[in-house]
């Protein structure tokens, strides 16, 4: 029973990082109808911000988190204004591929500036060590992505549903032209949505550095699972992305624990396939 409880806990924790990636992708897709292939690379940049803040300033990732989220928010604005907004005027294929090209630029630029080797945090962090509750062991550093995922999901929900800007973004996602007719600036909505998705990845990157190594291609490792979580949760549904991420984490850990580690990703994919078989548009898809 102890092993099962530990497995459930670890599964939820592992899923929270996938949830964070997926929520960013879902936000961009839901609002702009663009599949953001660069979300994983924003995560990678967040990890490097955390790494260098720790290495040179001795900052804990949780302290570097606002810095990283802020930096990625600004980068998101710049990228949207210079690249994405122009691609949106082009053919559908360009819109689809532009973030893929962007991800390549970010990966190889990171390799050039940060080096290709694997890195881990070098200075001590606040959240380290474990809490032994008897029936489960809680690693303090892994609580950070979980709490962050809960916070981000909650804040995004509140922002999208309770603020004027959030409602404007939702209106733009429903019908860009109709939103423009009632005085909403669609371009502004898109900018904010893209920048927020980047910021979420930046914060997630910081949380991930507590226990995961970093290197320029690290984003690709998580991004694929982020896409699956988005598809499972329903394209464009932030809540769906959050819950799917957690379910995938559980499927991953429990399959590895009770079936075979070699096929744990098959377990995740089976859950996905079963879900889309019954709900082709995902759990919350419309």
């Amino acid at each position: 029973m102890t092993v099962f409880l530990q497995g459930v806990y670890e599964g939820i924790i592992n899923g929270s990082i996938l949830a964070l990636i997926a929520m960013g992708i879902a936000l961009v897709w839901g609002v702009m109808n663009i599949l953001s292939f660069s979300q994983g690379e924003f995560l990678m940049l967040g990890m490097f911000v955390s790494y260098y803040a720790n290495r040179y300033l001795g900052l804990d990732p949780i302290v570097a988190m606002p810095l990283s989220a802020g930096a990625l928010f600004l980068l998101g604005i710049v990228i949207y204004k210079l690249i994405i907004s122009r691609a949106l005027r082009g053919p559908i294929l360009s819109q689809r591929l532009i973030t893929f090209a962007l991800s390549m630029v970010l990966v190889y630029s990171a390799q050039m500036f940060f080096g290709a080797e694997y890195k881990q945090l070098v200075n001590p962090v606040i959240f380290s060590g474990t809490i032994d509750l008897g029936f489960i062991t809680i690693a303090k550093q892994k609580l950070v992505p979980f709490i962050l995922a809960l916070l981000v999901a909650g804040l995004l929900f509140l922002f999208l549903n309770r603020t004027r800007m959030g409602k404007a973004i939702q209106a733009t996602s429903m019908d860009r032209y109709a939103a423009g007719l009632v005085g909403i600036n669609p371009d502004r909505s898109y900018t904010i949505a893209f920048a927020m998705a980047s910021a979420v990845a930046g914060a997630a990157g910081c949380a991930l550095t507590y226990y995961y190594y970093m290197f320029p291609n690290v984003g690709a490792t998580f991004q694929l699972w982020g896409f699956i979580a988005v598809a499972m949760g329903g394209f464009g549904s932030v809540t769906g992305a959050f819950l799917s991420g957690l379910v995938m984490g559980l499927a991953d850990t429990l399959t590895g624990l009770y079936v075979n580690t070699a096929i744990k990703y098959i377990g995740v994919c089976v859950v996905f396939l079963v879900t889309v078989s019954f709900r082709p548009k995902g759990i919350f898809g419309k």
């Binding site: 497995g7 670890e10 995961y212 580690t261």
Partner: protein, 448 residues
Amino acid sequence: MSMKKLICLLLTAAMMFSLVACGGNTTTNNTAGNGNTNNSGTTDEGGDAATGDTIRIGVLTPLTGASAQLGNQVAEIYQMVTDIINEEHPELTMAMAANAGIQSMGGAKLELVIADHKSDATTAVSEARRLISEENVVAICGEFTSAIAKAVAVVTEQYQVPLVASCSAVSLTDGTNNFQWFFRYAITDETYIKDTFDFLNYLNENYDAGIETVALFSEDSEFGANIVPLEEKYAEEYGYEIVETINYSSSATNLTSEVMRIKEADPDVLLMSSFVSDALLFFNTCKEQQYTPNFIIGQRGGFIQSDYLTAMGDENNYICTTASWGSDITTAVTQELVELWANSEYNSEKVALMDSHVKDVMNLLFIAMAIEQAGTTENTALREALLNLEYDMDTLMIPWSGIEFNEYGQNTKANGFITQYYDGAYRTVYPEAGASMEPVYPMPEFAY
């Protein structure tokens, strides 16, 4: 120019630079004479392999991608050794150092044509084909995983060009593929795994270790997949019980269930076949789970790479790995290379000499020796020379029992070591004759 245009320009430049980085990356290095690398960044038009006074050797190594750090280090040490071969160094013990260039070919200089395989088999195949058909290299060496070497060997067989590699998969030289142009002087996984179980017996017999059970923890690509059957074979032969076998993806987002299963099984010894990233994630996950394996023996891979050692620091203390070379080998030629590399201008990261560097650089040395002994770069003559190499073991950096090839291109006289990390370096602990410290068993607990 407005700020907006300036940013556009910079982003475009960054994109172009990245695309260049994505594309074929060839560097021609003729380091003869001046001791400085001439990085032309382009390649000459094709021509004879040994036109005028240069002989071209292809170097395939990962300059970008996941293993870029090791790949670049290998390219750097190759350049250092090429310099040594091309110039007169009578003060050095190393083979081919005394005279300038290839004496049997009128002092011809070696010229490296370095290509980036990006740790990707498809890229490696196309780059190997280009090196042979366009760059006219006479032989290929470099830094390979077994999967990449297998892919490249198909090309070198087609063109009948020698490929000399030190990756360890048994299947490369067991006759399965019947490669005629593949040569491996270094040892295979079979020897490494046998050494591992011999070492367990040694610990039981000499240190009352009481080892009865082992667990296998292996990534699921060519590297790990080739090792598991050997570990199973020798565990049975030596009478050790396998209490858990974990196969996992080296690009896993987590290794939680894997570590939980190992913790449940609690083996006396954990045998790990891991790369850098997954090894780091494994140890982080172990600490989260408050679990320290009783004893760990890695199968090289990530355990001997500098970024792994840098990231682990002192936490790597008492972890063992199999090895084909150790910096504590006391022969003059070994210590000479350690010092040369430590002070070399090519050693851009100032990393210490490691097993992977030495194994790879030996291959370049063997190619140079074979050309010297063949007196030509003609492929069949070169093949014969590689198979029947005349050598003085005192001039080679790895003190093997000898060099003697079987029919499949495998040196049957090579031997390995077991090393244990302590105080910043791996130290030989087995076999006893070459040991520089006594093995510490079991490992102390990690700091949780």
